[in-house]
């Protein structure tokens, strides 16, 4: 008998461990097949990585590096030299600032005798990569050590001669993060409140639901205005930023709480809740380990689809002058710069902010739709 067992043991090949096809692996499998959603996800990953982690590297200049290129339009990149030769490496001409006396506008005239080639990984303004590694390498630009006065402004410059593309990237950092951080806080508030509301019922439910109704009944903008006005003006811009995130999530948790509550109301009648209770689980365990996971797929979708709202709210508030203020740079602050008739006429390139906001929000919606389909992996579609 023992010998036989030995033989069996040695002859059977080592089997691969059977890995359970978990819910999330099914979700991932289905998500991958949805091209639109994957594209949305990739766009967002790119944006977040570029604007949140490495805008210092991607932008040719430091955020507040002002220059003589006041309200200069986008710099033209050239491939053909004045003597008609084509070269693969783009270059820019030096410019001369003049004033057109009929229109009273600054104009920049290209000086075709001065040719500045554009290089990758050039030395420029010093910064710390990830806030840690001191360096001065930038992704592209004209070497600033030798030609400190030449600018490559692919999206033009503002009234202080700052590179607009640089500002968009730094602005994206705050705008994208406020959406994410704010949404995480909303999730915390919303799910905890929703789970408690649905699980306990009775007066707890009453208080929480009436609170969400109360918050929901306020018109958004005046409420934001009131709350934003309450932020002391002497606070540091960063403190204002976090306060704003808190305000945004405070106003928005109600909807999520209601949806979670609804789901918990049905889930709590399931047998496994009873089974867990009869196994000695306490309320916290039942709520957060047995009931909450059942709502997670829904919560993830809601969260993804409402981050754009968060970003837009920040943009709107900053645009109204109630949210972030200079010297902080966010997309809302940038839009505020571009919001005058004069700006639209003289510096239309400042509207470059808009496509970035649009693409971000579209990408979130694409991702959210894909997640919604994928999170129901047993569904027919």
């Amino acid at each position: 008998m023992a010998v036989a067992e030995q033989v069996v043991k040695t002859t059977t090949p080592p089997k691969q461990k059977q890995v359970g096809q978990s819910y999330w692996s099914l979700v991932w499998w289905k998500f991958k097949r949805n091209r639109v959603a994957v594209v949305g996800g990739i766009i967002l990953l790119t944006f977040y990585f570029s604007f949140v982690f490495i805008p210092e590297f991607l932008s040719p200049y430091a955020l507040n590096n002002s220059s003589d290129y006041t309200e200069a339009g986008p710099t033209r990149l050239h491939f053909v030299t004045p003597d008609g030769k084509f070269q693969l490496r783009p270059f820019v001409y030096g410019v001369e600032k003049k004033i057109d006396f009929t229109t009273r506008k600054r104009i920049f005239i290209e000086d075709t005798t001065k040719i500045y080639p554009i290089h990758f990984f050039v030395h420029g303004d010093p910064y710390k990569l990830f806030g840690l590694i001191p360096t001065d390498i930038h992704l592209y630009g004209v070497d600033q050590a030798t030609n400190p006065d030449v600018r490559v402004l692919i999206m033009g410059a503002d009234a202080l001669g700052r590179d607009w593309f640089t500002r968009i990237m730094y602005g994206g950092r705050l705008s994208l993060l406020i959406g994410l951080i704010g949404q995480i806080m909303t999730l915390l508030f919303g799910t905890v409140m929703g789970v408690m509301s649905g699980y306990y019922g009775g007066w707890v439910d009453m208080v929480i639901q009436r609170t969400t109704e109360f918050l929901g009944a306020f018109p958004d903008i005046p409420l934001f205005m009131a709350l934003a006005a309450a932020i002391p003006s002497f606070w540091s811009p960063l403190a204002v930023y976090f306060m704003l995130t808190l305000i945004l999530s405070f106003v928005r948790w109600g909807g999520l709480a209601r949806q979670v509550r609804g789901m918990i109301l049905s889930l709590r009648e399931r047998e496994y809740v009873l089974a867990a209770k009869s196994a000695g689980a306490n309320d916290n365990r039942l709520m957060f380990r047995h009931l909450l996971p059942g709502t997670m797929s829904h919560v993830v979708v809601i969260a993804t689809l409402s981050i754009p709202g968060m970003i837009l709210a920040e943009t709107a508030l900053s645009w109204l002058g109630l949210g972030l203020r200079p010297p902080l740079t966010s997309w809302g602050v940038l839009l505020q710069d571009a919001a005058t008739v004069r700006a639209i006429h003289n510096t239309p390139w400042e509207l470059w902010t808009v496509p970035f906001i649009l693409v971000t929000i579209l990408a979130y919606n694409m991702l959210g739709d894909g997640l919604r389909d994928a999170l129901d992996p047993y569904g027919s579609r």
Partner: protein, 364 residues
């Protein structure tokens, strides 16, 4: 033998459970008295809605709202197991414990285990890579992924101090004991990857993992097919013998109860109508309700073709408007006018260790 040492484990005395719903008060359990002895099996049978499951829930003090235990006591003879110290005995009235308190939560699962009717839905289905929120607020720490094995491991950890690895080993061992093939692999399965029978075994393994003194099995095999039912019953019998565990077996399947239980309680409309040894009740049922129940079992070869199966006439009465006197009288074939509809029968010993509540056995 231990026959004469029938030591009570759980005594239910005059239990009343009422549900105060909008249409009135439903007396789900109405003066129930019974005793479960250590290491023995008590079968509880009756029609749907006669209060079997409510009784089981009352024992764990888990009556759902708007239900309430209005009267009676459930005396639990607790035997605290502590390694290295002498056995401590304690008597707890489960009715008086705080339903959310520590004592009852220690008893639930740890000392009185329960198996439910629906194996399909009694395991938490989506246990996902736990969210940060989830982990931060939950009491226990434990495993990142909810798999079948974790459900057992979790219970072990709640009641005994063991490490995560030990808990996993226990989980695998329990799955092995309830006869799940390849327990080392199955421990990592999600509920939806298991068949109904396997899920029910996992439920049993969960209930048994802390070696409870009492196992309440609430129709544990109703949802399973016959061959798996037989396996499950075998497993329960084996485990009962090895762990000296008492079982309260709730069912409406008379065949199952005959093979499992030593003693039977027959319930009708929240009351015990007959109680006795299983052989006694099957051979010589005293109460007309029990007699009718036994007659309604289809038996192979005993009936001629075309003959109708006996059924109990009438319907279960409206719970808001129970009949006067004996609650069974409108359906009873032995109905005695002027007596059964006026007088409440008392629970009397009709022969040795055989009790029934019927006016047939009372003096006029």
């Amino acid at each position: 033998m231990s026959e004469q040492l029938s030591e009570p484990l759980l005594e239910v005395k005059d239990l009343h459970v009422e549900f105060d719903v909008r249409a009135g008060i439903v007396k789900a359990v109405d003066g129930l008295t019974m005793t479960i002895n250590r290491g023995k099996t008590l079968g509880v049978i009756g029609e749907s809605g006669c209060g079997k499951s409510v009784t089981a829930r009352a024992i764990l003090n888990m009556i759902p709202k708007p239900g309430k235990i209005t009267q009676g006591e459930i005396i639990y003879h607790r035997r605290l197991r502590r390694q290295g110290s002498p056995q401590l005995d304690d008597i707890v009235d489960l009715v008086k414990t705080d339903p959310d308190g520590t004592i009852i939560r220690q008893i639930r699962g740890g000392e009185i285990g329960m198996i439910f009717q629906e194996p399909m839905s009694s395991l938490t289905p989506v246990y996902t890579a736990g969210t940060h929120i989830n982990e931060a607020v939950s009491l226990h720490h434990l495993t990142p992924v909810r798999k079948v094995g974790d459900q057992i491991a979790e219970q072990v950890m709640a009641h005994r101090a063991v490490t995560k690895e030990e808990a996993r080993a226990i989980a695998i061992d329990m799955l092995h004991r309830v006869g799940i093939p390849k327990p080392g692999e199955r421990v990592d399965s999600f509920p939806h990857q298991l068949s109904g029978g396997q899920r029910q075994r996992v439920m049993i393994a969960v209930a048994l993992s802390c070696e409870p003194a009492l196992l309440i099995a609430d129709e544990p095999t109703t949802a399973l097919d016959v061959s798996i039912e037989a396996q499950i019953l075998d497993i329960m019998r084996d485990l009962q013998q090895s762990a000296n565990m008492a079982i309260m077996f709730i069912t409406h399947n008379l065949g199952v109860i005959a093979s499992m239980a030593e003693e039977i309680v027959v319930m009708y409309m929240g009351k015990v109508v007959e109680q006795g040894k299983v052989v006694e009740i099957f051979r010589d049922p005293k109460h007309p309700y029990t007699q009718a129940l036994l007659k309604s079992i289809p038996q192979l070869g005993k009936k001629k073709a075309g003959e109708r199966l006996a059924s109990i006439s009438g319907m279960t009465p409206d719970p808001f408007n129970l009949p006067t006197g004996c609650v069974f009288h409108p359906r009873c074939p032995m109905f005695m006018a002027g007596r059964c509809d006026k007088i409440h029968p008392t629970f009397k010993e009709v022969s040795k260790d055989h009790y029934a509540s019927c006016l047939l056995y009372e003096e006029a």
